[in-house]
């Protein structure tokens, strides 16, 4: 966990890509889940944030 946070702080690709991946997956689950309308409402913002973050962080150094 500490390595993950220090990786985020030093702008390393791995942890940031992991965070973006989690956001995209969470956004898609929120979009398609049948339980809460508020989750559906916020799903696009979460997916978009994750996708933009993924595009940016894939250019970070390893």
């Amino acid at each position: 966990m500490t390595a993950f946070i220090s990786g985020l702080l030093s702008f390393r690709r791995g942890p940031w890509e992991m965070l973006a991946t989690i956001l995209i997956a969470l956004g898609v689950v929120m979009l398609m889940q049948p339980f809460a309308l508020w989750a559906f409402t916020w799903s696009f913002v979460v997916t978009l944030t994750g996708t933009v973050m993924f595009i940016i962080t894939s250019h970070f150094p390893e």
């Binding site: 991946t21 995209i24 997956a25 898609v28 398609m32 559906f40 696009f44 978009l48 996708t51 993924f54």
Partner: protein
């Protein structure tokens, strides 16, 4: 001592030298690449940017002369708070998840069986691959007859095995059965595709690996889980990527089978998008809807390609 060729080249007037030399390597490379870049910009990038722009307006394509108003994020807000759109997303998720699970399981099993050498192997492979070669419109019509409560073979098969009267239920007319009916048809049609990709993966595993495992007395079960599955996994993941993207925008087959009904139970997001865009003519609204679907597929494809590369590196 200076090279006589260099001296001659330098002495040649620029105008003549340019004609003799022709185009530089860089210019030739650009000449080859430019048409592709132009086509990519014209067919993919420009419509995407235009759709993003339209998604912030109230533009209606059937009223080209009407005033176009900038509505900001209102289209997105309406879509993401609409329970009907939420319902179409759930229908899409049901279709997507079950078709992929069934196609992967059946496709991999078929590939594993076909990979064994037996008589009639090639003929059987050709027969299994046939559904994939049919047009979705043909498959849709064909299965509509099979699902017919009075004359359909499926209903008679159910009656034969379970005793439930054939005319007492309708696969395409029932709220609970219709979502499964479209899953069955898509699985029937596209499992051969997954099977072919898995077969390519299985045939790429060299025999000597299995021979070495047998020398080490590895059981068939262990060989399957530690050698076959990891080596076929990149192929399987590619098949899932292709089928996932394809099924996310599934339209023709489901329109032929149910038209989105009964009620909205099989109304997939692409069918709803088409209705909004070309039946209700809410172009701005449907552009926002298309952008939401695009971002979802793009995000999923990005993480999937990353996972695929990791598996290939192993």
């Amino acid at each position: 001592m200076p090279n006589p060729l260099d001296t001659a080249a330098r002495a040649t007037p620029d105008r003549i030298a340019r004609k003799l030399r022709g185009l530089s390597d860089r210019a030739i490379a650009w000449a080859f690449v430019a048409p592709t870049i132009f086509l990519l910009l014209a067919i993919n990038i420009f419509p995407l940017i235009w759709t993003i722009r339209l998604s912030f307006t109230n533009f209606a394509a059937n009223k080209p002369n009407a005033e176009v108003k900038w509505v900001g994020l209102r289209n997105y807000e309406r879509i993401l708070t609409d329970p009907d759109i939420w319902q179409t997303m759930q229908a899409t998720a049901h279709f997507l998840v079950w078709t992929i699970v069934l196609q992967v399981l059946i496709g991999f099993t078929l590939a594993w069986l076909i990979n064994r050498k037996f008589r009639g192997n090639d003929l059987l492979t050709t027969l299994i691959v046939l559904p994939m070669m049919l047009s979705p419109a043909v498959v849709g019509n064909f299965w509509t007859f099979l699902y017919q409560p009075q004359i359909g073979l499926i209903n008679y098969a159910v009656e034969f095995f379970t005793g439930i009267p054939a005319s007492s239920f309708s696969m395409l007319g029932s709220v609970t059965l219709a979502p499964w009916a479209i899953v069955i048809v898509d699985t029937w049609m596209w499992t051969p595709f997954v099977m072919l990709i898995c077969l390519a993966g299985l045939r790429s595993i060299p025999d000597y690996i299995y021979e070495a495992a047998e020398v080490d007395r590895a059981s068939p079960w262990r060989q399957f889980w530690t050698m076959t599955v990891p080596m076929v996994l990149p192929f399987l993941m590619l098949a899932v990527l292709f089928r996932g993207i394809e099924n996310f925008k599934m339209f023709d087959l489901v329109v032929q089978l149910t038209g989105g009904g009964p009620g909205d139970t099989t109304l997939l997001s692409s069918i709803e998008l088409k209705r909004e865009a070309f039946e209700k003519w809410r172009t701005g609204y449907s552009s926002a809807y298309a952008i939401i679907l695009f971002v979802t597929v793009f995000g999923l494809a990005s993480i999937y390609v990353k996972a695929l590369n990791k598996v290939k590196e192993r």
